[in-house]
């Protein structure tokens, strides 16, 4: 009586279900974990390979012979390795974040906050400048022709060469601390916002502009009711790029000699004293900070666009 195809169908369906056993989140995270695992393995191998010569030198100088196993073990626990092993960086990061009072100069939280505050100030400044310039460019043909080439040129100037000059010039005028770094950060972050917003403000289709014209709407009204709301997807995309660029700008601003505060200064002093673990810890602190900031903007983006009915 029964169709023989039915049980086969059920088997196939349950097999498909087993394939989906990890769930959506699980399937999304598996490739990430696989890549992470591969990186960690490669990193350990590189650490052994790069740190081993020093171990052999030390042994030779002491007139000892070392086995391969001893070499490997020694490469994992040097105080100033050429390449610190992942667990050393993790320990350094953990100690920097939780092992110190957050007011201590050895605390990554303290340095991170210095960098974060300048980054946020520069990001706010740069984004505001980018949005204002984009609004000007969209409304004025003269600005469209005159600003854009300069904006592009500003980004071709090597920031590493400009940053020390900005710091030194401003310091000679008595301006130190957050502002000079924020300016360098703004310099890098205004550009993606400018480009994104010019595109976004021009995004509505011609019919929408015709409608506005049929209502005799002024330029300001078109901007407020049509251009700005429609540009939000472009704005958020460019803000994500801008905040990462702002962090890079701040760190570059912290590198010039004399800086003692911030993740950039931490990187620099680490390289002075050959404190590779300190360098890598600061590097990872900066990377984690950048990821957190980009994620935060992404979260705001998701909520805003969903509320505005602009989410895909």
């Amino acid at each position: 009586m029964h169709d023989p195809a039915v049980p086969t169908g059920i088997v196939a369906a349950s097999a498909a279900r087993r394939g989906r056993g990890l769930g959506k989140a699980g399937r999304a995270i598996m490739p990430v974990l696989a890549v992470l695992g591969a990186i960690v393995v490669a990193w350990y191998l590189a650490a052994v390979w790069m740190n081993a010569p020093w171990v052999r030198d030390q042994a030779a100088r002491a007139g000892e012979t070392v086995t391969a196993g001893q070499v490997v073990r020694a490469t994992m626990a040097q105080e100033r390795p050429v390449l610190p092993a992942p667990h050393q960086v993790a320990a350094g990061l953990w100690d920097g974040v939780t092992g110190q009072k957050i007011t201590s100069k050895r605390s990554l939280v303290w340095h991170g906050w210095i960098t974060l505050s300048a980054t946020l100030a520069g990001f706010a400044l740069g984004s505001a400048a980018g949005i204002l310039l984009a609004v000007g460019i969209v409304h004025s043909r003269v600005m469209d022709l005159s600003i854009m080439p300069w904006a592009v040129a500003s980004q071709t100037v090597p920031i590493l060469a400009i940053a020390p000059m900005v710091i030194v010039v401003l310091a000679s005028m008595g301006v130190t601390g957050l502002l000079p770094k924020a300016l360098i950060s703004a310099w890098l972050s205004f550009f993606p916002v400018l480009v994104g917003m010019v595109k976004g403000l021009r995004a509505p289709d011609p019919m929408q502009f015709d409608l506005m014209r049929s209502w005799n709407a002024g330029g300001g009204q078109v901007l407020r009711h049509l251009r700005l709301p429609s540009s939000l997807p472009w704005l958020f995309a460019s803000l994500k790029v801008a905040i990462a660029a702002a962090l890079v700008g701040t760190i570059v601003g912290e590198l010039p000699a004399g800086a003692t505060q911030g993740l950039g200064a931490r990187l620099l002093s680490g390289s002075y004293y050959g404190q590779t673990i300190q360098i890598w810890s600061a590097l990872f602190a900066a990377a984690i900070l950048a990821a957190a900031l980009v994620w935060l903007i992404g979260a705001i983006e998701r909520v805003t666009l969903r509320r505005m009915g602009l989410a895909r």
């Binding site: 019919m207 929408q208 015709d210 409608l211 506005m212 014209r213 049929s214 209502w215 005799n216 709407a217 009204q221 009711h225 709301p229 509320r307 505005m308 009915g309 602009l310």
Partner: protein
Amino acid sequence: MNRPRPALRPVPAAATAAPVIEARGVSLTFPTADGPVHALKDVNLTIGQGEFVSFIGPSGCGKTTFLRAIAALESPTSGQLTVNGMTPDAARRARAYGYVFQAPGLYPWRTIAGNVSLPLEIMGFDRADRQQRIARVLELVELSQFAGRYPWQLSGGMQQRASIARALAFDADILLMDEPFGALDEIVRDRLNEALRALWARTGKTIGFVTHSIPEAVYLSTRIVVMSPRPGRITDVIESPLPRDRPLEIRDSKEFAEISHRVREGLRAGHSDHGDA
């Protein structure tokens, strides 16, 4: 929308009352890379207060261009075009018309009421006045209970009704519609045609309506303007003998078939003109 209701204002008895739109020798040429395109050539037409005029013809016949010229969204290269006795641009600034496009073009971040409110906000109506107008026009298009919904929660036909409400909200006497139902399926289209007739009868607006559907043009209009392309021009103007009160079934009548036939002949003639040229 199709239930009988008392008219909001007296409907003019004769369709050829005071002229609202007058075109005298209007031509419009677009310069393109392949040389000038004559979108309109020597168009003469007078549309009176309270008329429902359809423009029908194949693509490129200039029907949309003519509607856009009336709305001051395009400028004629020669000839004279007046709207309410003014230049089209002065009429636009005096908010003489509401324009409905093929797509509803509603803002996804505004509710239906918010979308209808947008032109009113731009034109500076105060809050109480806005509320009252929104309620009135949404009732007119039978969307009152959807005022608080967002566009994506409504069907295509309902969205287009909302866009008509938006065009009506600021009480322009002229309604210009550019293939407003072109993207909708036939069943929805029939309902909206019926509703539009009723709305026109209630409000006494002057309506310019672009379409390429013969039944739609014949059913809706008091006058049908047949146009043909290259150069865009008027080939025939047909006064509809159909009665003012038109149930959908009128489309099965002999008169309806006769007018449809004449429109089709006009379209064919315009086409063969082109073939001979």
